[in-house]
């Protein structure tokens, strides 16, 4: 059984998806099956992470076909970490989904909704676990198509348009990725990433490989919403159903960043990416602009979901910035931020989901004075907000600390200053929400509003507590991220 874990990681969700669709007439049953599926996925992810935590690598030949003919799944410290993020967020979001989805999605579509959710989930898991470049593309499309459907099911009619926008941008992204992979295949005759890593050095001088690199980098950058290719993200996150926003914000961009790392570190290799092509010179300015501009835009948002969406773009900038230092410490800071930001932003969007559940919308004027009636929801928002800012003893601080150290190690004082100033900007936009909810008087015509139901509140607080737990007990994420960074670099580091 345990040797088939890598296959189970994807297969459970993939087979559950059509089953759930068939249960469309029984929404609660569909939900129950999805819940069990997600929890099983988490268990598998944890087991895999435990297996590779000593630095070992699991190879799994799909259907018994040995690579390069068959598809190989390969789990190491890096993607086990990403699998855990997906598993954890989906497992926590499912109890939350029950009532949130019942309220936002028409009853006759709930089964379809969960089916699409499972497909998106399976797609993301597949991207993370597979060691086959073409397979990555396929899973990208699976998750993307399912995500378009999920976003389009938002209650606001603009959800349709945002979904369409995402579809165009996403398709361009995956097409670029496919072109790049095609070029790689032409030049090397293989799609297995480990094989690519071995054969690429012989042909790196060619223009084709450089073009392939460019296509892949731009294609993935679209998917991970690297500034200025982020335009699809704020709309998609703002208008999607609450539960979808939570899930996608915590996982979709993270997985894309993982793929970028896999290509530049493993397939192309550090030397080619950073020394021959100097990719850091492109990534660092974009990362910095991506941190600064969306953060400032976030300050001026009226809608809390949109505000957090812009903050997500900025957080992607942090992760790319860590990569652009081209050091082990920078890489590790990025990888640890994948996790820290996932739990932080998911907690924030869940708190927002609670507000949406009671208020119907989350513009700053609508949430005025809401803290008095929904104290637990807003408290969760404040705590997770502190983590987003990066206050000590929260998960966000662990990231920021390492990112700053990585910047200082390279002697990049101005970058360190930017990071600190932007934390202040983050304080401002979180404060705007806090001020509206705590200090503005509630509107006269406010309906009688009660605290969100426990089924929403408990998952929200589970993730919120996680941001504190991993801010205090930081050894776990740090050692996992170090493990992941070593897996990507291919050599043990002295930290």
């Amino acid at each position: 059984m345990s040797e088939h874990l890598p296959a189970l990681q994807v297969v459970i969700a993939l087979t559950a998806a059509p089953l759930v669709m068939m249960m469309n007439r029984f929404p609660r049953l569909a939900w129950g099956v999805t819940l069990v599926t997600c929890w099983a996925t988490l268990v598998v992810a944890v087991l895999l992470l435990l297996q590779v935590s000593d630095g070992s690598v699991i190879h799994y030949e799909m259907g018994g076909w040995a690579p390069p003919w068959g598809i190989e799944y390969r789990v190491d410290g890096a993607n086990a970490w990403v699998l855990l993020i997906i598993g954890l967020v989906s497992a926590v979001v499912m109890p939350f989904a029950l009532r949130s989805v019942e309220q936002e999605i028409p009853a006759d579509r709930i089964g379809l909704f969960y089916s699409a959710f499972l497909l998106a989930n399976a797609g993301l898991l597949g991207i993370a676990i597979t060691n086959d470049a073409f397979n990555i593309f396929v899973f990208f499309e699976i998750s993307a198509l399912a995500s378009y459907a999920l976003i389009a099911m938002g209650r606001d009619r603009r959800a349709m348009l945002s979904s369409y926008q995402y579809l165009i941008m996403g398709t361009v992204g995956t097409t670029f990725l496919l072109i790049g992979i095609g070029f790689l295949y032409i030049m090397t005759g293989t799609l297995n990433i480990s094989d690519l890593a071995m054969r690429l050095p012989e042909v790196t001088e060619t223009r084709t490989i450089r073009a392939a690199f460019a296509f892949i980098a731009v294609g993935i950058s679209l998917k991970l919403a690297l500034f200025p290719l982020h335009l699809w993200l704020p709309n998609a996150y703002s208008f999607a159903p609450s539960m979808v926003t939570v899930f996608l914000s915590a996982t979709a961009t993270k997985v894309a960043i993982y793929v970028l790392l896999r290509f530049i570190y493993t397939a192309f290799g550090f030397e080619f990416s950073f020394e021959e092509l100097s990719v850091a010179w492109v990534l660092m300015p974009l990362a910095l602009l991506g941190i600064i501009i969306p953060s400032v835009i976030a300050v001026f948002q009226e809608d809390v979901k949109r505000l957090l969406a812009y903050s997500s773009v900025a957080q992607v900038g942090y992760m790319i910035l860590g990569i652009s230092f081209a050091t082990a410490l920078g890489l590790m800071a990025s990888v640890v931020h994948l996790f820290n930001h996932a739990i932080t932003k998911a907690a924030l969007f869940m708190a927002v989901g609670c507000l949406v559940y009671r208020l119907g919308g989350v513009s700053l004027s609508r949430i005025a004075g809401v803290a008095e009636r929904m104290p637990w929801t807003m408290a969760a928002f404040v705590v997770a907000g502190l983590s987003l800012i990066g206050v000590p003893l929260t998960a966000g601080f662990v990231t920021k600390w390492h990112l700053l150290q990585a910047a200082l190690m390279e002697g990049l004082w101005p970058v360190a200053v930017v990071l600190l100033v932007i934390s202040l900007v983050a304080t401002v936009y979180i404060w705007k929400v806090v001020e509206a909810a705590y200090f503005r008087p509630a509107p006269e015509d406010a309906r009688e509003i009660r605290e969100a139901p426990l089924s929403l509140l408990v998952p929200t607080w589970v993730l919120t507590a996680t941001t504190i737990i991993f801010g205090v007990w930081a050894q776990f994420p740090i050692s996992a991220a170090r493990n992941a960074a070593e897996a990507l670099l291919g050599v043990p580091q002295s930290w």
Binding site: P392, L393, L404, Q405, L420, T427, V472, A474
Partner: protein, 491 residues
């Protein structure tokens, strides 16, 4: 014998446990208020247990947890921290009594919430006092800011919210924008944030960089209220008076100057400090602050605003003491933390008592009030004399040492400034007393009879006023306690 770690943890756990207890008892006002006093007393008792150990030369320490290697939440009790913790917890007992009288007398609302945040504030102040490294101190420093914010905004009206926003904005802004970068840079350059006698910078950090770091730290510690980042303190005066008294004359502001002393003595080290170009700059910023804040204080008619600017001025005495880099000044700075605390808390208690009894807040309305509230104004007089530094009150000793220190360092300008400032102190602290006792009350106000504030207001302020007197003779033991810190500071 209780272990060191247990005592340290208990000292910090007691206010939190007390907080839970009083939340549970929130329905029964009398029980709840009693619990506040009991909590304060127990906490003081626990802190007191640490005193003999520190006097015996021990340094009780404990490590709570390690965030990641080299960065931990850890505690170590050294003389200066001992003094600060004793001061904060001791005065809390008196303030708790006073707060009960004040909150009822002034008909303030939300008593439970008020006491809850008070408990958290005291918890974090103790954390600051006992922190063994700059990182721990920073964490508790921020908790203190956050927990006092709701106290400043307590009244909930527009003025309170506005004041509270300035309060939070300036304190968080300076600490995250300036202190945190300085802290990270220090960790990066020196490899540690441990408070170490003699400092951690020497030989590790280029004095040119140290010069910048010092400026970042001194302005980053916004609670020390160096100009131009002093505005939060007057803004905080919208809070109920017990808050102004314990937090904005003792715990919060003293946490600021305490941090200044810790940073200069245990992070920079005085020998290293002398190498830095910015030490003199900060010294003169402090001198400027202490003079100009006094000048502003003279013009304030609102009693609490005047006291607030007076505090800004007095805090700069201590910053200046740290920047003078010699033994007398360092002793003066350490003593001034205590002396000013007793003097200023008395003054604030009086301001609150006057408000409770008469609803008066402006000094110009206080003519003849001394006949009605003799005890309060006598206490005010003693508190004022203590802050000014006149024998036989405690304040004289700290100013004396400060002057000696300035003289020793050859900083004639500072000597002059201290003398001028003392004159200014007289000019703004004595007139309220003179008006109250010597001027006739305005027409239409009855003069007959003594009508003081409630007993729970008057007794505490009398106690702290007597404390100011007692400190005159207690200065010796206090200096003795601070001695080991001085041997570090004086080099």
């Amino acid at each position: 014998m209780v272990s060191d770690a247990a005592l340290i943890y208990w000292a910090m756990a007691v206010p939190l446990l007390g907080m839970l207890a009083l939340i549970a008892a929130s329905r029964w006002a009398v029980l709840r208020d009693a619990l506040v006093v009991v909590t304060a007393a127990v906490m003081f008792g626990v802190v007191l247990q640490l005193l003999p150990r520190v006097l015996a030369g021990e340094r009780p320490s404990a490590t709570l947890f390690e965030l990641f290697p080299g960065l931990e939440i850890a505690f170590m009790v050294e003389p200066l921290g001992m003094v600060f913790a004793l001061l904060a917890s001791g005065l809390w007992i008196i303030t708790a009594l006073y707060a009960i009288g004040y909150m009822r007398g002034a008909k303030e609302l939300h008593h439970t919430r008020f006491h809850v945040y008070f408990c958290i504030a005291l918890f974090s102040a103790t954390g600051i006092a006992f922190s063994a490294n700059m990182f721990s101190l920073f964490v508790f420093y921020e908790i203190l800011t956050l927990s006092t914010y709701p106290l400043v905004a307590h009244k909930g009206n527009e003025a309170a919210k506005q004041g509270a926003r300035t309060y939070l904005g300036l304190l968080l802004g300076t600490s995250i924008g300036l202190m945190l970068p300085a802290l990270i840079a220090t960790w990066w350059l020196a490899g540690t944030l441990e408070f170490t006698p003699g400092g951690i910078m020497a030989g590790r950090v280029d004095p040119a960089v140290g010069t910048i770091l010092l400026v970042l730290f001194m302005y980053g510690i916004g609670k020390a209220a160096l100009m131009p980042f002093h505005r939060w303190l007057p803004s905080a005066m919208v809070a109920p008076t017990p808050v102004s008294a314990l937090l904005h004359a003792v715990a919060v502001v003293k946490a600021g100057v305490f941090t200044v002393l810790k940073v200069t003595v245990y992070l920079f080290g005085l020998d290293y400090l002398e190498l830095l170009g910015s030490t003199d700059i900060i010294l003169y910023v402090a001198v400027f602050t202490l003079l100009s804040a006094s000048l502003v204080a003279i013009q304030k008619d609102n009693l609490k605003a005047r006291l607030a600017y007076s505090t800004v001025s007095q805090l700069s005495y201590i910053v200046a003491a740290a920047m003078l880099v010699n033994e007398f000044a360092a002793l003066g700075g350490g003593m001034h933390i205590v002396m000013h605390a007793f003097g200023k808390i008395t003054l604030f208690f009086c301001a609150g008592a006057i408000y409770v009894a008469t609803k008066k807040t402006e000094i110009s309305d206080m003519n003849g009030l001394g006949r009605r509230m003799p005890v309060t104004f006598c206490a005010f007089f003693l508190g004022a004399l203590c802050v000014i530094g006149v024998p036989p009150l405690g304040g004289v000793w700290s100013k004396w040492h400060l002057l000696m220190g300035a003289y020793d360092s050859g900083a004639q300008l500072v000597v002059l400034a201290l003398i001028i400032s003392t004159l200014l102190n007289i000019a703004y602290l004595i007139p309220p007393v003179v008006r109250a006792f010597l001027l006739p009350p305005p027409k239409g106000e009855e003069t007959a009879g003594v009508r003081e504030a409630p007993l729970l207001c008057v007794v505490p302020l009398s106690l702290t006023a007597l404390g100011c007197l007692a400190l005159f003779v207690m200065a010796g033991p206090l200096a003795e306690l601070l001695r080991p810190y001085l041997s570090v500071a004086g080099g």
